[in-house]
């Protein structure tokens, strides 16, 4: 079997394991055999399972696992996509202003929006914020250095992210009564994930990830640099724009249902490169598979480590991600030297 085939197989097995673990683990014990039977019959309640247990599975655990999977897949795939088009191993939804923009949008909605409209105003505002954040970074990056240096875009993203975060902090200070709500939201809120969140995120995630998946071959072309990619007949600015829009849509969808969860876009693509090589033909599909698994597993940690309390999921990804980020930084520093 090819390296890619083996890696994909591992990815599918890990994802299935993560999904089943996510359904099994929780304060209410449900027999594993019953859960498996319930799954393979698509929700036909086995005799040994009570109605209450079924409700826990269907109303609480299953949507939570699906949302975690969608969010993980989105963040990992968009991280990989940003890394390809900006040719920067540290590019990530957080570095480019996407997440900060989403955060600001959400904060505005929470602080100034109608108080009873939390369910839809926040995600829509987050999406608009994410696109505005990346758009701003893109415009600033293009205008500096004539847009020729790819790094100028990432630097612009960092500047935009700091700026938007500053505004967000200011707004939070102004509206301290919503501080707690915003704060909980920012650190991730998979704890309340339900079918509404699945319905909210699914269309954007599917559209964005399918787009990235479809152009993964061209991400390899863009990796040889703008000039060489143009000499191979690729319209580089157009592809870069398409990929940025798709990745930002995925990021916004993730942020709008789960809040700000950092580092997934860096951890997962780098890990799958070690497993299946550097070609985006494998990096992208594997990032989707392992990104989903990773976040489902981290979410299990988040709700069990300090049970009955929950640790915000963003705290755990940051604890894993920050050292990982440092390692990648050191490695790319050595490669450049």
């Amino acid at each position: 079997m090819s390296v890619r085939g083996r890696a994909s197989l591992i990815g599918v097995v890990v994802l299935l394991t993560a999904v089943i673990a996510g359904l099994l683990i929780g304060p209410v014990r449900i027999a594993a055999a019953d859960v498996l039977r319930w799954l393979v019959t698509f929700g036909d309640r086995p005799p040994g399972m009570s109605e209450q247990q079924e409700a826990i599975l269907f109303e609480l655990r299953l949507p939570r696992v699906i949302v975690a999977g969608l969010v993980g897949a989105s963040l990992a795939a968009s991280g990989a996509a940003y890394q390809a088009v900006f040719r920067n191993p540290l590019a990530d939804p957080y570095l480019l202003g996407a997440a900060a923009g989403a955060g600001l949008g959400a904060t505005i909605a929470v602080s100034y929006g109608p108080s009873d409209a939390f369910d839809l105003t926040v995600p829509v505002a987050a999406f608009i914020g994410a696109l505005a954040g990346v758009g701003l970074a893109y415009a600033l990056g293009r205008s500096s250095l004539g847009g020729r240096a790819v790094t100028s875009l990432v630097l612009a993203g960092v500047a935009v992210a700091s700026f938007l975060t500053a505004i967000q902090t200011f707004l939070q200070q102004q509206r301290s009564e919503t501080l707690r709500q915003v704060y909980t939201w920012i650190l991730g809120r998979l704890g309340t994930a339900g079918w509404d969140d699945v319905r909210l995120a699914l269309p954007s995630v599917v559209l964005a990830v399918a787009t990235l998946w479809a152009v993964r071959r061209l991400l390899d072309v863009i990796e040889v640099g703008d000039l060489e990619a143009e000499s191979l007949g690729l319209n580089v600015p157009r592809l870069r724009l398409l990929v940025v829009i798709a990745a930002s849509l995925a990021t916004a969808a993730a942020v709008s249902v789960a809040g700000l969860i950092g580092f997934v876009g860096i951890i997962v693509p780098h890990a799958v490169r070690m497993l299946g090589g550097g070609s985006y033909r494998s990096v992208l599909p594997l990032s989707v598979l392992f990104g989903a698994s990773f976040l489902i597993l981290v979410d299990i940690l988040a709700r069990t480590v300090a049970a009955p309390a929950e640790i915000p999921i963003g705290v755990i990804t940051a604890l894993i991600g920050a050292p990982f980020f440092a390692a990648v930084l050191r490695r790319s520093g050595r490669a450049a030297a």
Partner: protein, 264 residues
């Protein structure tokens, strides 16, 4: 259409970068199947000329490929006619030789198309042509400079473009590798009907492989023609600012030899 016609006709080509003229008023004719070498001192505009011909830089003047104005060709169509081997190719990390050569098929595929048997056939042929069969699954980082150069040429061959532009194809290679790469290009040209335009610094090697020469100096074409016309000691002395002796005898062969002031 491609046989017999002139492969490349450049007329009055000028490129400005940041308001500064880099090359000005270049005219060049390259017959189908020929090897034309663009020479000139550092900063003369050789690479700029190559990039303009490939359509990678905005330029004034015209570029015709087999009688068709290059402006009228789409990006992919142009990339199917002209392949570029850059002087310092960007080597992506963690990618295998086969995946890299496959990039050469980009202009043959639509935005969302996947490679078909025909594409894999072209890649296989290019890999075999460059004796890289042993390396298909190897990652690019594990290859030597000479092997990498061959892989980049294989990518250009997989592109199946009849005009091959090579920017300093021997940079960074040892003498043996330089000879092997140039012999290979010559074989491809003679056997595969490919037209070659290359830039080169080593005038002895250039003189032994190319058929015609174009000398650029300060962005202008100052001499064009055969080896005896362009690679003459007084011409080289004037534009490179170096004293040379051009040797052509039966025992040594043809060579451009630098002369130190103390020897003059």
């Amino acid at each position: 259409m491609r046989d017999g016609a002139t492969a490349l006709v450049v007329r009055d080509l000028s490129v400005e970068l940041g308001g500064r003229p880099i090359v000005t008023g270049i005219g060049l004719d390259v017959p189908s199947g020929a090897w034309v070498c663009v020479i000139g001192p550092n900063g003369a505009g050789k690479t700029t000329l190559v990039h303009a011909v490939a359509g990678l830089l905005p330029h004034a003047g015209s570029v015709d490929l087999w009688g068709r104005p290059a402006r009228t060709l789409g990006r992919r169509e142009r990339a199917r006619a002209v392949a570029v081997v850059p002087q310092l190719p960007v080597i992506p990390e963690g990618v295998t030789v086969e995946q890299y050569v496959l990039l050469g098929r980009t202009p043959h595929l639509g935005l969302l198309a996947a490679e078909g048997p025909r594409d894999h056939e072209a890649v296989g042929a290019a890999i075999e042509r460059l004796d890289l069969g042993w390396a298909t699954g190897r990652r690019l980082q594990t290859l030597s400079g000479g092997e990498l150069r061959r892989v980049v040429i294989a990518r250009a061959l997989a592109q199946e473009a009849p005009l091959l532009l090579l920017d300093e194809p021997t940079t960074g290679l040892d003498l043996g590798q330089q000879l092997r790469v140039l012999e290979l290009i010559d074989e491809l040209r003679r056997g595969g009907g490919i037209t070659v335009v290359s830039t080169m610094h080593d005038l002895t090697l250039a003189g032994r492989f190319a058929e015609r020469f174009a000398l650029l100096s300060a962005g202008r074409l100052v001499a064009e023609g055969s080896r005896t016309e362009v690679l003459a000691s007084h011409v080289i002395a004037e534009h490179y600012g170096a004293a040379v002796r051009v040797i052509d005898d039966d025992r040594i062969g043809w060579a451009v030899v630098p002369v130190r002031d103390s020897e003059a």
